[in-house]
Amino acid sequence: MANKRMTFLKKLLEFSGIHPERLRTRWVSSAEAVEFVHEVSEFAEEIKELGPNPLKGKQPKDEVKVEVQAGIGVN
């Protein structure tokens, strides 16, 4: 179930403007300490390359307003 939700969530995040590679799922058991450290470190490096979290802090209010046809002003 978690896998299904993750697959879905990645696609939804991408549609919302968040890079899907910012979300990662890995199965690691509590006995695999070395693998866990390796996974997390590698992920941290890759994330750094993607840049700071775009959701952090206030976004400048700019004029990007795309008219979604018939979506706004239904009534």
């Binding site: 179930m1 299904k4 696609k11 968040i18 890079h19 795309v66 979604v68 018939a70 979506g71 239904v74």
Partner: protein, 264 residues
């Protein structure tokens, strides 16, 4: 207005097959949900067309659940458009309603409404009356996908910034039936913040609605801030179709991949 639905309901009532018909009533220029229990009341039947086709639609499925909880042994009939029928097919699989206790009375939607909704199938299988429109193409999702990642984020952030957390989208949704809503959990969406956690609130809602949203459009119509919710939810429905091959509301047997409800 032709009379096929009215006649069908009259017959159901006369034969004692239903306790009442959950439909819409027009009175003094206003349209509202109503449970019709007698033939005389049917004079005020309405399809929910006020100034334009279908602009006075209501979440009848939600009211049906309320009736079924209070009167679980009774059978009712309910007015359904294409979307409502998709909703009921899902509600049966989510064990919120019993199929044998709900008789569907189907109404088709005109092209004008089908196009505005970009409807997958603007008429129900249980169709009795009304136009049988063609599937309408979706443009809203494509427009967002034409934007690059950064623009998309700015677009959605700006839209969600107008949210006043009225919960209208959730309250009006005919497919929302949870007793405890995650969106009211302080740890997920901090209470006392307007707009609510952006984009957590809306993405959380989308994650919870996947496999249940039938694209009826009532959420967007209930939003006082004109947030293009349908665009987000349409994409969500597209994802579950592309990734899991599941079409919400089309099958009576096949459950959504997120539906693990078992009733012992």
């Amino acid at each position: 207005m032709s009379t096929k639905i009215k006649e069908a309901v009259q017959a159901l009532l006369a034969e004692g097959k239903i306790k009442g018909f959950l439909g819409l009533r027009q009175e003094n220029g206003n349209i509202m949900p109503h449970l019709f229990c007698g033939p005389k009341e049917l004079e005020h039947l309405s399809w929910g067309d006020w100034k334009k086709a279908g602009d006075a639609r209501y979440p009848l499925n939600q009211l049906m659940i309320r009736l079924a909880m209070e009167y679980p042994e009774e059978t009712f009939a309910v007015l359904v458009r294409g979307c409502d029928e998709r909703g009921l097919k899902e509600l049966f699989k989510w064990k919120q309603l019993k199929e044998e206790k709900v008789i569907l009375v189907g109404l088709g939607c005109p092209d004008e409404l089908a196009r505005a909704c970009e409807c997958e199938k603007p008429f129900p299988d249980s169709w009795i009356e009304g136009p049988k429109g063609a599937k309408a193409d979706s443009l809203k999702v494509a427009q967002v996908e034409a934007m690059d990642l950064d623009t998309r984020l700015r677009f959605w952030k700006a839209e969600f910034d107008r949210c006043i957390k009225c919960f209208g989208c959730r309250n009006v949704c005919p497919m929302c039936f949870c007793n405890q809503c995650s969106l009211e959990e302080d740890q997920l969406v901090g209470t006392g913040e307007i707009p609510p956690a952006n984009p957590t609130f809306h993405l959380a809602r989308a994650i919870h609605m996947v496999g249940r949203c039938i694209d009826c459009g009532l959420c967007e119509e209930a939003c006082p801030a004109h947030i293009p919710l349908r665009t987000l939810y349409k994409k969500m429905t597209e994802i579950i179709h592309k990734e899991f091959g599941y079409k919400t509301g089309f099958s009576v047997d096949e459950k959504s991949p997120f539906n693990i409800i078992e009733v012992k």
